[in-house]
Symmetry: C2
Subunit: 390 residues, 2 copies
Amino acid sequence: MSTRKQTVRLGIIGVGGMGSHHARSILQNNIPRCTLAAVCDINPERLRQFDAMPEIQQFDDSRTLIRSGAVDAVLIATPHYAHTTIGIDALNLGLHVLVEKPISVHKADCEKLIAAHSSKKQVFCAMFNQRTQPCYQKVKQLIESGELGTLVRVNWIITDWFRSEAYYAQGGWRATWGGEGGGVLLNQSPHQLDLLQWLCGMPTKVRAFCHLGKYHDIEVEDEVTAYFEYPGGATGVFITSTGEAPGTNRLEICGDRGKIVIERYQLSFIRNEVPASEFGRATKELFATPQVWNIDIPVQRGAGEHNKILTNFTDAILDGTPLLAPAEEGIHSVELANAMLYSSLTGKPVEVPIDGAAFARMLKKLIKESTFKKKVKKPARNVDMTTSFR
Amino acid sequence: MSTRKQTVRLGIIGVGGMGSHHARSILQNNIPRCTLAAVCDINPERLRQFDAMPEIQQFDDSRTLIRSGAVDAVLIATPHYAHTTIGIDALNLGLHVLVEKPISVHKADCEKLIAAHSSKKQVFCAMFNQRTQPCYQKVKQLIESGELGTLVRVNWIITDWFRSEAYYAQGGWRATWGGEGGGVLLNQSPHQLDLLQWLCGMPTKVRAFCHLGKYHDIEVEDEVTAYFEYPGGATGVFITSTGEAPGTNRLEICGDRGKIVIERYQLSFIRNEVPASEFGRATKELFATPQVWNIDIPVQRGAGEHNKILTNFTDAILDGTPLLAPAEEGIHSVELANAMLYSSLTGKPVEVPIDGAAFARMLKKLIKESTFKKKVKKPARNVDMTTSFR
């Protein structure tokens, strides 16, 4: 019999919307070998939901929880800025860490956070649960196997993030430079930005147009259109919005050997019998196009993807299973978001990798010069985060 | 009985690919009350197809045809630059004119051409045959009736214009600054640019990224990504390419009251029960979206749209029927194309209306400084233009 540790004692830091959602998953025994050992929140009201469970230790300060000896690992589900400070603290104290997206608000913070992960024995994971969706898993496989050929063009319209005024009014930190460091790019779209870089790699050039408070009474961006250029010559467009309904979620990836479209988690693949570039050079016809196969690849829409990441995190700690979403990779989606804001606010294209320090200075200036007064209105009842996922 | 003129005697100037296609339509009696009375081409080989039809007068110079008295109207299907010069000549001589797209190569030329249309008795029409497609007619109606509400966002991916090297090699004028004044924006996409402005109006700001000779051995643009801002605050993206296969033709128009998608000439309309902006302000829910109706609007894919424009042109001359595509409106698609090239080549956003004289100067400079030598290779057989339409 193995003498290995058989369960992970998890502490959740931040039990607002997402944190308490994850807590419920664990309490419902959805995550084998993971025990909820502690919770932490600076807001005592939020801790009351755990009052009837004395086996779960309560903390009002993350530093105390991290030093309590009560947990092997923490899940950080606080407002974004604290991901960095709490993450560094937990990593420095030797804990395994699972951090909600975005891993940090800006690139320089990501670098600090990642630098704190010095021991390979520590598991450091990010909650990029969308990577577990079967449709994206399949696309990753099609790209990596070469079925799609060289990347030619990518286009993601992800505008079905409609948010009401009531949503933005629920918390003072929401949709402010000081509280979130951005809007739709930092809160709603990190999953798609992560998938985009996971599937297509990072661009070398970004030009974006971010509209601040266009649809809502907020100071940050609620609509973005971005243009990318990739190292191999491919181009890309990314469009997101919280002001549009019904909105669209459509990802199109075109390669030399075909085209993939994912819309509403359905995957279609049009495959060229001959690569387009080769066909175009060889044919004597003026208007001919390569012959194609129209391929429907059946994929189930996943459910419980958050649980898959929690389970993978647990397995990585106990069995050394490779992570689906190493936190280190979380810097890319943050850098993409930063590059878009930087390009838009300076009115110029931005080279990637970006100058993280320059972006941090710009963000600091935005926070300092902000004159925006948020009208906060508490929601009438508890927030059900399950209706927020895409 | 009416004493009105009962037929239009038409002369076609330029009987290459498109011109001879139109000639065949008329000779097959597809255009009631329109007679092919004359043809003109500077290339005598192209005139030979009419040798067996002595009733059709042949000319090798447009000026002679225009002054011959043999025709009431001309259809101009020459390379684009000559649209302006021949169009002005024909209008000055009192003829009715139907001009192929684009009406001219650049805005300043469009203005000159339009200025020559001084008599309201003359019918001056552009070959924007895609306007007759039932799906676009229906969208126009949905927008004009207010069903879609205020424009929020538009996105057109029209990348199914794949062209082979053989296509570009067929003629020395093709895909050169001096011969066409541009690439995919001037040759393949004018229909979509016209429909875009016809449906959504003109933007006030354009930022575009045009790639010159990216996929083909040409000096002009064969891939374009453009971003637009509209007067009412809406944003837009237009993507086109002749280097991609299988390519996409998908138009999405989002309004405050719903979303229209046209893909492969199929129309879908998702209608919000309450306008999104109103719903977002009124709801107390954080993650709710307006209730919707999913509406399929059956439309036939049209056939013979060129004939519809030719018929409408004839009816306008004989009966005063309003034009579906007045040539004056052709300036907008040209201005959009010019704005995209100008923005890309200067690396800056461009305000619309653009400075037509400044663009003309830039184009002149491109022509003057061009060192590109086109490798021309004649196609083995006659060009069948019917395979070129989208």
